[in-house]
Amino acid sequence: MLEFLGDFWKFLKARRKWWLVPVVLALLLFGALFLLSGGSAVSPFIYTLF
């Protein structure tokens, strides 16, 4: 993960796309939820919603 964050930092500096930071953080969180739930991407939210 540290390697990814380092690469991502270099990428952001080169491309100057700072707005990608919150998107990537959200996606990482989303991905982690997905991995923890072991199922579909939306399953962690189903019980919260219904």
Binding site: M1, D7, F11, R15, L20, V24, L27, F30, G31, V42
Partner: protein, 625 residues
């Protein structure tokens, strides 16, 4: 001590591995050939192992993964990720559902790709966990795969495909070891995606059915007002074609940016007056005309880009790669139009070839190593996959209880030529497996092209595929002019030529025959099995230097019949990858109507083989492809 670089393409479609030794390609193969899953998109673990095994077999002691200097992956995952996010952002809230379903995949496959690659490589060799990883851009990988193995010291390099990171086409200048990107066409405007959209609309699978659309095009009527109207609508509405060959696609008609489909079917139906064709349904003339229109447009666009590339670089030698460079009709059109003097096309022009290009880019661009062009090229006839010794083939045959004769090579060629001349269909398995989608005479099914019934027999009884699809010929390089108009060298079956006029048999005008089968059943030349409706032919010229065994067989056939040309189709059946090992070849031989199999120096006669169950032969159901 030798230096090795491993190239990998994966996680989209057609994953593959390629190994360089001191900058020269020594092994390259697609993963599908080993795991038997067509167009396999995952990590090419078996292909990597096969590459390392190959080096070990040849060198006595191979590098192992720990001895590989760097692993080069064929695109930049973060740049691709940026494109995905920006595209969804630009079209939001459209495509939100697809965004939700795709996001976790991106996290795993794009954002954390380095980690994934290290994990997969460590499964092969735990000591390779810290190996250097390099990520050349997708189109640079394609360009490298086209230029570096070419025989040209300097060239215009053109890459065209669906999409890489942002680029969908690029023009590069190649000189010595340097490759400079001069111009790019960027997503969502893409010639490859436009062709794929027509592929999907005419009922074929995207990323694998494009060559069927190309094969269908000659059934279209070039003189009909419908075809002309289709071309006009593509140009006026769908795609604004510029003088330099770039296109601007009207995104109101496409769904690939955020949806799960290529086209907005209701809009296409309103535009063309034709609903999308259901896969597997009858191929009506309207769809043939649509295929012809798509092909005409693509050919014109490619000619314009090629001309622009030649003008930009000042070089009249042209290199091509990218999935669209597998469109041999358009390639032939570029050459015949005299846009360039010479053309060289990477035999694995699609994404699989990116593995080789990435490795070559790492060697010449990252490491700055010099380049010496080779003649005829640096691909070794594209015979870069695994091979099997005669002993291995015989051990397998004995273990399978197969009945065979072992013959000296001269006698084997003479016997095989005789069998082919008598109408037999022969599986031909020799030496190293081909790199790229075409069988080039080492994993091929061969037959006599002069037989008017052969196309039907091969399509329906052996390959189990659509009857409309044409077959390609292999001809001795020195005999090409005897059969074809231009007779140019086409070693990788990536150029169309036309059967020479004296060999043609005039047929009825377009529209006179009611259906495709009927159109096909009328011989239109004295080599009807390999002559398409428009007298075009996807030629492979065979050189005695690069494939002496196959050349010797063609020579034996010529001595017997006066014709140094054979039908050459890939050794597989519908929806199955081309055979790789003796076991694959024997299984395919046994579950099809192939009459004979030649494996190395062994000749197998179907009539003498023991009966096998369908399960032993790998089943017998053939899904739509």
């Amino acid at each position: 001590m030798s230096r090795y670089i491993l190239g990998i393409s994966a996680f989209y479609h057609d994953s593959a591995a390629a190994l360089l030794k001191d900058g020269k390609v020594v092994f390259a193969a697609q993963e599908e050939r080993f795991n038997r899953v067509k167009n396999f998109p995952g990590f090419p673990a078996r292909a990597v192992r096969a590459a390392l095994d190959w080096a070990e077999k040849r060198e006595g002691k191979g590098p192992g993964l720990a001895g590989v200097e760097a692993v080069a992956f064929y695109d930049k995952p973060l740049l691709k990720f940026e494109r995905l996010i920006e595209t969804y952002y630009a079209y939001a809230p459209r495509g939100f559902a697809q965004f939700l379903s795709a996001a976790p995949v991106w996290v795993g496959e794009k954002m954390l790709l380095k980690r994934t690659l290290r994990k997969e490589l460590a499964k092969i060799d735990p000591s390779a966990a810290g190996i250097k990883l390099l990520f050349p851009e997708h189109h640079l990988s394609h360009a490298a795969s086209a230029f570096y193995p070419s025989p040209f010291g300097e060239a215009a390099v053109l890459t065209v495909d669906g999409v890489g990171e942002w680029a969908t086409a690029s023009i590069c200048a190649g000189r010595g070891k340097d490759l400079t990107i001069l111009k790019e066409l960027r997503f969502p405007h893409s010639l490859g995606l436009l062709y794929s959209a027509f592929t999907a609309y005419t009922g074929f699978k995207v990323n694998s059915g494009e060559y069927k659309l190309m094969g269908l095009a000659p059934y279209g009527d070039p003189a009909s007002s419908r075809t002309a109207a289709f071309i006009r609508k593509i140009k006026d509405v769908l795609a604004d074609l510029k003088d330099d060959g770039s296109v601007r696609l009207d995104q109101d008609y496409f769904d690939y940016t955020t949806g799960l489909k290529m086209t907005k079917d209701d809009r296409w139906e309103a535009l063309f007056g034709l609903p999308p064709r259901r896969p597997g349904s009858a191929l009506k003339q309207e769809y043939c005309d649509m295929a012809l229109a798509a092909q005409e447009f693509t050919g014109e666009a490619l000619c314009r880009i090629a001309a622009h590339a030649v003008a930009l670089t000042g070089s009249r030698d042209l290199c091509l790669a990218g999935g669209v460079a597998l469109n041999c009709v358009a390639n032939g059109r570029i050459l015949k139009a005299g846009i360039c003097d010479r053309i060289w096309i990477q035999p694995a022009a699609g994404d699989a070839g990116g593995a080789l290009g990435a490795a070559l880019a790492a060697w010449h661009i990252y490491s700055g190593e010099p380049r010496v062009p080779e003649v005829p090229d640096g691909m070794g006839g594209a015979l870069l996959g695994p091979d099997y010794t005669g002993e291995e083939a015989e051990t397998f045959a004995r273990s399978a209880g197969a009945v065979y004769e072992k013959l000296g090579y001269g006698e084997l060629c003479a016997r095989t030529a005789k069998l082919l001349a008598s109408g037999a269909v022969v599986g031909w398995f020799q030496g190293r497996m081909e790199w790229g989608p075409r069988a080039l005479g080492n994993r091929s099914i061969l037959a006599d092209a002069r037989d008017p019934e052969m196309r039907k027999k091969l399509n329906l009884k052996i390959k189990h595929r659509e009857g409309f699809r044409p077959f390609a010929p292999s001809v001795r390089e020195e005999d090409a002019g005897e059969f074809f108009e231009d007779g140019f060298a086409s070693p990788y079956m990536l150029l169309i030529d036309h059967v020479s006029r004296p060999r043609r048999i005039p047929g009825p005008a377009h529209g006179a025959a009611p259906d495709l089968e009927e159109k096909l059943s009328r011989p239109n030349s004295d080599i009807p099995a390999v002559t398409h409706l428009d007298h075009s032919s996807r030629v492979q010229t065979v050189s005695g230097r690069t494939n002496p065994r196959y050349h010797a067989l063609l020579t034996a056939f010529k001595e017997l019949t006066g014709c140094g040309l054979l039908v050459n189709t890939s050794f597989n059946v519908r929806e199955e990858p081309i055979v790789c090992s003796p076991a694959d070849a024997y299984a395919c031989f046994m579950r099809t109507d192939l009459d004979h199999l030649v494996m190395g120096d062994l000749l197998f006669d179907k009539a003498r083989q023991p009966r096998r169950t369908a399960a032993e032969d790998g089943g017998g159901d053939y899904a739509d492809d």
